[in-house]
Amino acid sequence: MITLTHYLVLSGILFSLGIVGVLRRKNLLMLFFSTEILLNAVNIGFTAVSKYYGDLSGQIFSFFIIAIAASEVAVGLGLLVLWYKRSGTVDLDSLQMMKG
Amino acid sequence: MEHILSLIVFFPLIAGIFGFVINKENVKTFGISVAFVEFLLSIVLWIAYDPTNSGYQFVEYSALIPQFGVGFYLGVDGISLFLVILSTFMTLVSLVALNIKKDIKNLVITILFLEMTLVGVFLSLDMILFYIFWELSLIPMLYIIGAWGSGQRIYAAIKFFLYTFAGSALMLVGILYLGYQYYLATGTWSFAIPDWYLLVLPFNTQLWLFGAFFLAFAVKVPMFPFHTWLPYAHGQAPTVGSILLAAVMLKMGTYAFIRFSLPLFPDASVYFLYPVAIIATIMVIYAAMVAYAQKDIKQVIAYSSISHMGIIILGIFAMNAEGITGSIFLMLSHGIVSGALFMLVGVIYDRRHTKLMSEFGGLATVMPRYAAIFGVLMMAAVGLPLTVGFVGEFLSLLGFYRVSWEITVIAGSGIILGAVYMLTLYRKSFFGKVVKEENKTLKDLDKREFAALIPLVALVVILGVYPKPILTTIDMSVRKTIQTMERKALLPDTKKFLLKVNSIGGTK
């Protein structure tokens, strides 16, 4: 029997993976993937809890997140392409102009 | 007459904005006329003021944030009336004496803006409004020191700004907390000072709030050991900045003690009486000693200000009508005298571009008129009777004698040490032979300088001989403040103390 706990554990594992990805990856594209994983981990959590309580607002939230994630990726990839055209790399370390 | 206070507060600002369209050559004349009109307005206020009424007059109120009881609330009483006149008068005089050419337009407008904030501080009866003006006054002064100062002006300006600003931060917390206390007690919000006067606070709360307000006021006064911004600010500020800083801005702190600390926290004020008095005594003596060691004329006067402010604090904390009235009068007299002395230092600085005593000597021979005026003001500064300096100093010390004769004796040695540094300064710069070649051709005072200095010298003498009209007006409101204290005092000790210091005779 798959219970709520399983879903939440899965969500946790995915979230951790995403975090590790965010921290370790230097490639901007990979960073986007990691963020997507993070968001999806949260989505899983939301949906599972929503089902568990029989409250639909969690699932609606998930939809919102998916929509926002999609638009974010669209803008983000656009910027990425632009950056690649300008600097010829998608490496994170090339973005250091905001140094304090 | 209904809106005269708003007019007095905002006239310089509005006129100052018009100043932007005046051309550069005429802007000083424009500034003088504005300051003169403003001064006349404050004189009209004095004439219209009813000296038999000790309460707030010409009160104006319009709500700003009604939900929180914040309002545009102005009023004047005997305590603030003369400080307002002092502000407008000193602004006028300092504009007359102004001879800076660089960015004159900005400077004149800044001074007018500063005038608005100073007058606003003294006239506000709403605590939030007061705080706004209190902090706003820093900005023009920061600009004046930073833009027209000399040498280390940026350091001095920033030090001045941050120090005083940091000091006030805690006061804001105190203000908000007091407002909240008022809300708890009455169910409505109010930041109006007359409302707060009705609020009786528990002793512990008083202690904390007294501390929060004290820091802000102490930095402004400036009290030892929070005084180190002052010598830098004076050292680097242009003459006009020093005049306004010493003559008016320092008085904001002592005024606030009388307006807030004493009537709002009577028990705490009595509780902290001795620590404050000891700090004040240290100020008097320590600053006088440091002044004696200075080599720069302006620094001597800067430190002498600290020394005099110590006596003002003592007078305030005497908590009797003699002491407080005396201390307010001393604020006025110190405003006039220190302003004039800074102006005189400016005169010599303009000619020689140095303020070091060792560069002078024998000035009495080359500039007799200058020496004479300096001499008169020096005597006022050391508190010679029949000059303006004596009345306030005498009354302040007289008042505090009732509290503690020991401290009065120690602080009274300020009159000795004051004579020591002032006479030494005078001797080194004015007496002796003219040694330096460049001093031999110095010009005596010109018309512009005379025009600025003569009114001050006249006031020094007139107010020294006949201070009564001012004293009685102040005294009325001071008595009312003391009554407020007596009414609000919680502890029997406080009541006993207030009764004792306000009566003649008895043991000891």
């Binding site: 304090g100 | 009508a321 002491g323 006479l423 001797r427």
Partner: protein, 618 residues
Amino acid sequence: MEKYLFVALFAPLVGSLFSLLFTAKEKNTITAIVTSALLLLSFVSSLTLLVSIHDGLTLHVKMMDWISAGNLNLPFGFIVDNVSVIMMVTVTLVSTVVNVYSMGYMGHDKGYNRFFTYISAFVFSMLILVMSDNFVGLFIGWEGVGLCSYLLIGFWYEKESASWAGNEAFIMNRVADLGMLMGLFLIYWQFGTFEYDKVFAHVGSLNPAIVTSIGLLLFIGAMGKSAQFPFHTWLADAMEGPTPVSALIHAATMVTAGVYLVIRASALFSLIPEVGHIIATLGAFVAVFAASMALVNRDLKRIIAYSTLSQLGYMFVAAGLGAYWIALFHLMTHAFFKSLLFLGAGNIMHAMDDELDIKKMGGLFGIMPYTATLMAVASVALCGVYPFAGFFSKDMILAAAFNGGNFYIWFALFIGAGMTAFYSFRLIMLVFFGDKVHKKLGFHPHETYPFVLWALLPLGILSTVAGFFEKPFEEFVTEILSKYEITIPHATELGLIFLTSAFVILVIVATIYKYNKGGFSKQLENMPIYLLLKNQYYIPKIYEEVIFKPYYRLSTFAWKQIDVKIIDFIVDLIAKTLYILGQKSRKMQSGNLSDMLRWMVVGIVALLALAIFYRPGM
């Protein structure tokens, strides 16, 4: 009569303001003439007042309110009664003479107009001092004369020593004034007023300890102004001022203000005989102490200054012992002969191109006979030889000391009288007789202008005859001052007078004899006692080393070490800490996205931890 009071009081002020207009201009004789005329007017008014007061009038005028705050209400009030009118007459008389004298003495000075401004301002202040009906009014005059004294001592401000002496006088007086100010505060908080009438009316019902404190504090003020030990050093240094100033301020009038204060507050001091005793003892000490320094000094003016100091000691003895009218009498006679002595010294200085060393003079009698005569008259009056003025007043003081049973005070005064005789005639002999040392040194002395000598004549006459007014004077002033009963037998009193006179005359004769023979040998000058006296008991040196220099060092320490290195350092340290913190944390903002993400994760963890572990209200 009030108009005479106001004329007497304000005529000098008008004169001062008038000549003030000319201060920045060239020498203008009109200033001297106008001020002299106005001082004379003031003198005449004072005399008129004296006459009407003698007829039983007392003037008490309130001019206008000055200070009012709290319970304090302080008007400018003036009182002319038997005591103050005596002072007024003395002050205005001496000042008129000095003013006329100065027309000659200051004739070539470039500060001519300024000088007369100051002198008249001084007289005005002095009149306020003596005429006020309250203690604060007295204090106004007190400080006013202090200011004028400062200005006049430092009149030749280009001289380093003159301006230094001016500062010394002002500051030392300030020290004593603090004591007086405290006395005033104490009076106020006991009586609620400063007016003499009211204070003295209630002083009897006060706790004696408080009266003692008031008395002591007021006396501290008096000590400063009258240059009593330990405040005496300023008076000798004050001789840097022009000589007419020394005559007027530092001999006849201002320095006696302390004595006047004690006399004025006699109602208070008579309640506290133990304080009076202290005053008298100190006075006797100063009488001998100052006279001893005059014995060896070679400076013409300083000798007379120490003599003044010594005579002030006599006055304080009388005042301290309750013989107030005698003190006032001596004050008056002293004013006449001492100012005469100083003005005579001024003539000599003029003749000798401001040379002050009496060893460089000698034989001046032939050249300036009138001055010599006047000074001789003044000297015998000072020594107390019958029938000159000093005899009467000084012997009364000695009798009073003996009468009170204070034999040691009497003895001190007796010795002091001998010393006075010695130094006075040492001066006379060295200056006017003996070898003409000045010739070798190339001086060309000459007698001064006749009008100057004529101006001195009134003082000369008064020094001679004033003593005979003893009885009427006593009757006049004891109308308000307490009487002083001499209880010793008349024969004893006469014996004492005889003894003192004989002693004084003996010393005078011996001195004249000795100096005729060529004076004392040089070897004496190496004796330790001589050095001690010559260096004024090393007191100025001690003050310099123990007070002035350490104070300067302490001040510099306070500034350089405490202010800059501790207080300001701490302030800057706070600012610097914040700044350094900012510098360090700048590195967080590397601009690298992955660094930022890491910090973000740290933040998330921190917030999570907070959410898990922090439960408010649990």
